[in-house]
């Protein structure tokens, strides 16, 4: 989903930067607020950031014969709500833009909008919807992680289509073309990411139960239920 350095025309680069900036600033304040009000959240915040750091570094093969990487932004969005990931995701993108020549500074705004804003919100929305429909924590996590991943790549495709509409088929044609490159490849990766998210939350439900209860992901268990869950 990284649009490479210099590959968005300047007006688009500026536009997406302006669009993403308020989310990132708001996200930074959300992180500071969370750490200040709930210092015990620091560990889980670190886990959320680290999860994105690992997953976005790993390029995986897909059924289409090309490879891509997962995003890992859904976990933090589900734990702490999406604004937090606007900051953490942008830090990841900045690391990759500066050290790996992956993505870029001119495209940081567009990439942050896809990876750190739309992805986390889509994932959070999918999670909340699943829970609202009566699904448990783990099904919600699976849906949320898959959607965060897919929505990121769909957004990148649309951003590219906006910047490079097809000469004959226009915006829709270009969107179809870019979605063809990104979205199909991404499906198995998104499913894999969903499974890894389930694995992470299975560990958290045992070892970080107080945090999950405080964050509203789990309802407090009856006092007698100790032992069974471990």
């Amino acid at each position: 989903m990284h649009i490479a350095e210099g590959f968005l025309p300047a007006p688009h680069a500026v536009g997406w930067t302006v669009a993403a900036a308020p989310f990132v600033v708001h996200g930074a304040r959300a992180v500071v607020k969370e750490v200040r009000e709930n210092p015990e959240s620091t560990l889980l915040l670190g886990a959320a950031g680290a999860f994105t750091f690992v997953l976005s570094a790993i390029k995986l093969p897909s059924v289409t014969g090309s490879s891509s990487h997962p995003t890992g932004t859904g976990a933090g969005a589900i734990l702490f709500r999406p604004p937090v990931m606007a900051l953490l995701g942008t830090v990841v993108l900045l690391f990759q833009a500066l050290l790996l020549a992956h993505g870029g500074l001119t495209t940081l705004g567009a990439n942050a909008f896809a990876f750190a804003v739309v992805g986390p919100w889509a994932g959070y929305g999918g999670y909340r919807l699943t829970r609202g429909l009566g699904g448990g924590l783990l099904p919600g996590v699976f849906v949320g992680m898959v959607l965060a991943d897919l929505a990121t790549y769909v957004t990148t495709s649309l951003q590219l289509a906006l910047a490079f509409p097809d000469a004959s088929t226009g915006l829709a044609g270009a969107a179809a073309k870019f979605l063809g490159v990104f979205a199909v490849t991404q499906i198995p990766l998104a499913i894999g990411e969903g499974l890894l998210g389930v694995l992470l939350f299975r560990v958290l439900t045992v070892n970080a139960r107080p945090e999950l209860e405080r964050l509203g992901l789990l309802s407090p268990a009856p006092v007698t239920a100790s032992g069974g869950a471990a």
């Binding site: 210099g6 999860f51 020549a101 490849t185």
Partner: protein, 99 residues
Amino acid sequence: MNRRSLVDVLIVLAVVALFAVPLLLDGGTSEYGGTDAAVTEDLEAAGYTPWFDSLFSPVGEVESGLFALQAAIGGMVLGYVLGRLRGRRLTQETGDAAA
């Protein structure tokens, strides 16, 4: 092995299979190029010239090293946090048992 760890192992195996099976079925016919690079190649072939270059571009193996570094930092932090949380639970459990 209790039921809980069995489920964990099965999930890990499912993830591995999800990526290994396409690779095996493919039999080496695909190149597995990155989708990001596929798009930039497309755009350059269509006549677009990027107007800004990366300030720093790692060459050759340095790039894969830096990607490994990124994953290593993430894995380290994640492992540290999960280890601490687990240690906290175990301490609490033995505390509860002693009380």
